[in-house]
Amino acid sequence: MERDTHFILGVYEDEDVLLHAVKDVRTSGVKIHEVYSPYPVHGLEHALGYKRSRLPIAAFLFGLLGTTLALTMQLYMMKFDWPMIIGGKDFAAIPDFIPVSFELTVLLAAFGMVGVFMISSDLKPWAQPRIFDLRITDDKHVMAIDIANNSTLEVEKIKEILKSSGATEVNNKSFE
């Protein structure tokens, strides 16, 4: 997909105004590219109509992988590769394996979840993030509208919608 380069930005100062603005802008037919805010705004994903994240599924599968891996590893080591009698127990002493299996389940679930999150959000070390407005790291919320994505509406009309929804500033932003 070609990277979009021309945006209109609505700058908001208050999260309540922003939440209502997101609803208003969406009902007036404008497609929102993304909303940037300095801190998590409760209910924003819902207002933007985002689908629920499927990250928990990845976490479960990675956890399951961790359990399987841990049990297989211990069983292989303790029963087949180098059997040792420890505390007079069976070689395959399943209760002994539980703490390690638990730890590996948690470890792989956590690492897997972080990894999947980074890949799905395109957070690679060499990524060049596009800063729409420096103030989103401080005290302003910014709603970005992709012009190419709203070709049916005129630019002036979009700016008007943003202004009437409570934006304190409306700016243009282009990327190389």
């Binding site: 409760h42 928990p56 505390g87 002994d96 539980i98 703490p99």
Partner: protein, 431 residues
């Protein structure tokens, strides 16, 4: 912002009508019938099963099984009742807002406490020798061939300040003291909560927060000690340092399941309109989380005993795992109380929809009864125990009697504490 919570009928009362009473009574009668059949069968069949295997053991009488069942259900339903008060107190101590509309549901569980107290004390006096080995006075007599130096060493815990083997003053005192304070705190919190409905203001909230803190301190000690007294002392030689928390966690999951079930039941009847899937979700998270907590304690106890392999400790699990009667129930216990809630309640949707929660919470109430069955019966009945008509009947009788008392207590006042300062916060609760 407008006070949206005021749109609801906050003066709603639970109508404990004849229809609901009738269905609970039906369960009670079915339970009583099963119990009666079980008793008759045990009386008739008692003679045939004498295997003569127990060398030093005494002849087994059918009523021992009845007493053991009474004790299991006494301890189990006392736990559910006190957990209602405990969870209520936690809400105040933690200054929780989300739980406001279901506070009365939690508190109502405590209505069973006075009945539980009477039942427990009466059962102890009737059945002491058949449930508790340490009540036999010959154990403390140095001249007796049955003298037991280990139990003699622990004797003061039961008999102080009287002579060991006489009358268990200290034990009875603790039982009376615990029930006395539990009922006292329950009544105190209840009267504050209802007074708040009439007077309003934040004063009662602050008072309840203080009283909740006092109760929690008392409960922290009494829950552990009562678990040693009522459950662990059955296996008198054996001890486990985390037994108190293990019993508490079993009580807690059962209590949370009961709270969740009553909430869903009331919602199904059209009460508690304020409670939506966000509140149900939080209850589901508690049930899910504390099921794992129970498993953690159960497994911590098991693993250390299994791994250290000290005979005086392993005897507890050998009695259970190597037994034809109880061996399979250990796995039923783990399956119902860990794997079931863990796998079914893992997803967000399962915790937000009543159907899954209803199923899991009902099974958990049975599952934790099995847990108490496994704590009590091997030490009291040995190979003469098991789950038969008597067990099922007694569980149904106790369960429906407790449901009768709890719902009756719930119907006495408003369902929602309408002047609670955090009612508005609870209305906006969203997760």
């Amino acid at each position: 912002m407008a006070h949206d919570a005021q749109h609801y009928n906050l003066d709603q009362k639970f109508d404990f009508n004849a229809g609901i009473k009738k269905s609970i009574m039906t369960v009670l009668i079915i339970g009583a019938a099963l119990l009666a059949i079980g008793i008759v069968m045990a009386m008739l069949g008692g003679g045939h099963h004498e295997e003569g295997g127990e060398a030093a053991g005494h002849a087994f009488h059918w009523y021992e099984r009845l007493y053991a069942n009474l004790w299991i259900n006494n301890v189990y339903f006392t736990g559910i009742a006190i957990i209602g008060v405990f969870f209520f107190a936690i809400q105040y101590a933690a200054q929780a807002g989300w739980s406001t509309p279901i506070l009365r549901v939690m508190l109502s569980l405590g209505s069973w406490l006075p009945y539980a107290a009477v039942l427990m004390i009466v059962t102890f006096f009737i059945a002491n020798h058949d449930i508790f080995h340490w009540t036999h006075s010959y154990l403390f007599d140095k001249n007796s061939p049955e003298y037991d130096s280990i139990i003699d060493g622990k004797g003061a815990f039961f008999y102080w300040p009287m002579e060991k083997g006489s009358f268990p003053v200290f034990y009875i005192l603790r039982m009376v003291l615990f029930f006395g304070f539990w009922v006292f705190f329950f009544n105190k919190l209840k009267s504050f909560s209802y007074a708040e409905d009439i007077q309003g203001g934040t004063g009662y909230w602050y008072k309840m927060r203080s009283w909740s803190a006092y109760f929690l301190i008392f409960f922290a000690v009494s829950s552990s000690v009562s678990a040693w007294d009522w459950v662990m002392s059955i296996d008198t030689h054996w001890f486990s340092t985390l037994f108190g928390w293990y019993v508490f966690s079993s009580w807690f999951v059962a209590g949370l399941s009961a709270i969740t079930l009553i909430t869903i039941f009331l919602k199904g009847k059209g009460y508690l309109e304020m409670v939506n899937e966000n509140h149900i979700h939080d209850l589901g998270k508690f049930v899910f989380g504390f099921s794992i907590f129970w498993t953690y304690l159960w497994f911590s106890q098991f693993l250390l005993i299994y791994y250290a392999n000290i005979p005086e400790e392993t005897v507890y699990f050998i009695e259970r795992l190597s037994s034809d009667v109880y061996g399979s129930f250990i796995f039923v216990n783990i399956g119902m109380n860990f794997f079931l809630p863990f796998l079914v309640l893992m997803t967000r949707d399962a915790k937000r929809h009543g159907v899954f929660l209803k199923l899991v919470c009902t099974l958990l109430l049975v599952g934790h009864w099995v847990d108490f069955f496994l704590m009590v019966q091997p030490g009291t009945l040995g190979h003469n125990g098991g789950i038969g008509l008597m067990e099922v009947g007694m569980f149904l009788v106790f369960g429906s009697a407790a449901a009768m008392v709890v719902l009756g207590g719930l119907a006495k006042g408003n369902l929602i504490p309408k002047n609670h300062p955090m009612l508005e916060e609870s209305y906006h609760h969203h997760i």
